[in-house]
Symmetry: C2
Subunit: 310 residues, 2 copies
């Protein structure tokens, strides 16, 4: 029985395609070994507080049932997680003292290397779609399988901008919203400011661009619309891994729950995304966003919104 379904009234389900992985992370505040990670895991659990997430991903035969159960207990539909022979995607990294820069010590794609997402028949008419940060060719394939999605968002990163720019530009034409961080936005748009980058990106296809700036918040650009939300100010960050995926998952969850695309709906989605991401970075793996009470989340959002009420 999911412990967070009460917040989902009126929400449409969300199809989330991305990685399901084991992360081994070392930060100045500690370490985690082979802990549940991956963009789909973070986005799925984050979205689960607002809407029903339907995950599509791939894991190896070393992926314990308790991990799937952890997702299910959050009301995440895991029927689209394929199990393949071999090992689960494993990433190992170490964060610097500033908690921003990090060194990748190991990336073992394992079964993820041959991931070719098949959307289960029961998922194909899901109205909201979140394409996690994966190969643009796979994102394209997901869109070919989806039937009349109502709202499609995607996330991406510098690796795909550098290696698959053309494919990425093709996906951009088919989506409603792009999540991207500030440096990558400027890189993709070949611009020196986020305003100029956002204007350029909006001409490439999406109706909305959300530029993520980590501890400095996020900005949404759309038609005659610019919305800014600061990050939650935290005295201590334990592990930043998954913050962006959490943000995207919660943002899409709230957008689905509101069912609208106006200033109020988009602003609200930004704040809930920001709040959920703040819980993620306070702990390793998905621990920070597991089993949160509705009151705890709402209280933090109240604090966030009060910072900009003057």
């Amino acid at each position: 029985m999911a412990h967070n379904r009460e917040g989902r009234e009126g929400a449409q389900p969300i199809l989330i395609v991305g990685s399901v992985a084991f992360d081994s992370v070392e930060t100045p505040h500690g370490r985690a070994e082979m802990a549940l990670g991956g963009s789909a895991s973070y986005a799925g659990i984050a979205a689960s507080y607002f809407a029903e997430p339907r995950l599509v991903g791939i894991v190896g035969d070393d992926f314990g049932e308790h991990h799937l159960r952890r997702l299910s207990e959050h009301g995440v539909d895991v029927r689209g997680i394929e199990r393949a022979a071999g090992k689960t995607f494993h990433w190992r990294g170490r964060y610097h003292e500033n908690m921003k820069d990090r060194d990748t010590l190991e990336t073992s794609l394992n079964v993820f290397e041959h991931f070719d997402p098949t959307i289960p028949e029961v998922y194909r008419r899901t109205p909201y779609v979140l394409l996690g940060n994966i190969d643009p060719k796979l994102q394209f394939s997901v869109l070919d399988q989806a039937r009349e999605p109502q709202f499609v968002a995607m996330d991406t990163m510098n690796f795909w901008i550098n290696t698959s720019r053309d494919a990425l530009l093709e996906v951009l034409k088919r989506i409603d919203l792009l999540f991207i961080n500030d440096e990558e936005a400027m890189q993709l748009a070949d611009q020196w400011s986020i305003v100029a980058a956002a204007e350029m990106l909006l001409r490439m296809g999406p109706k909305f661009v959300v530029i993520k700036r980590g501890e400095h918040g996020a900005v949404l650009f759309g038609p005659q619309l610019t919305l800014f939300v600061p990050a939650v100010l935290l005295p201590r960050v334990v592990d930043p891994t998954g913050a962006g995926d959490t943000f995207a998952g919660a943002f899409m969850g709230q957008l689905s729950r509101s069912g609208a695309l106006d200033r109020a709906a988009l602003g609200s989605a930004l704040t809930w995304g920001t709040v959920m991401a703040s819980f993620t970075v306070e702990a390793f793996s998905v621990d920070g966003i597991s089993g949160l009470g509705a009151d705890t989340i709402a209280e933090r959002r109240k604090q966030l919104v009060e910072m900009v009420r003057y």
Copy 2:
């Protein structure tokens, strides 16, 4: 005749002590040679849109009358600017492509080296005091000369934290508000987050701490109060020099104009400070904030505030 006095109704004057200098600046967008600069010049002109600034500083015999006239035309009282034999303080620097990092190519203190601020008798009862970014010993001396100031703010920087920490801590005990940037706040408080740094700094004396984060906005911390204002999103920055001084000057001007210290007054001061700083960085020297119309400023503030209305 000042062209901006209409916005000053109800405002008390502000004593501003700082540098008056010539800046020679090179950025990727151009260069300025021997242009009017210095913390008191920026803060003075910025404050002049909200209240009467009374400047205390020192210039050399090479400082043309037209520079003083430029300040006077903004309704800045320049009777406290001392003229000494020798050359005016000159700073020469070059900004990197990112417009944040900069190299100092020359710092000729000249007459500023022996600056020992004397507050003119007619200035001594000024209710609002802004201690610009100068030697803490001089800031201390100014406070000894001021009579019953109502509200005192100071700005500082890493140079003074490194070389005059003890004197700086003594000034902190006597002020109401500290302006400081994020890295310097963490350095002064010996903390790794701005929240922890602000908590520590509030215990050192000031009732309020405003942490400046450049293009990422500013955060005000006070008793049971945290306020955040994003920076104005600009497609193009020409020269960031003086942004912090402009912010402090306009912040203090608006605070004086409102005459209050509650959430609304402080939030409003943050937004006007941010807006004026955005004009400064769009041009070299004080050109961006010279002769601005009230409508131009108000329109930009409206855009800023709308970014956080959701």
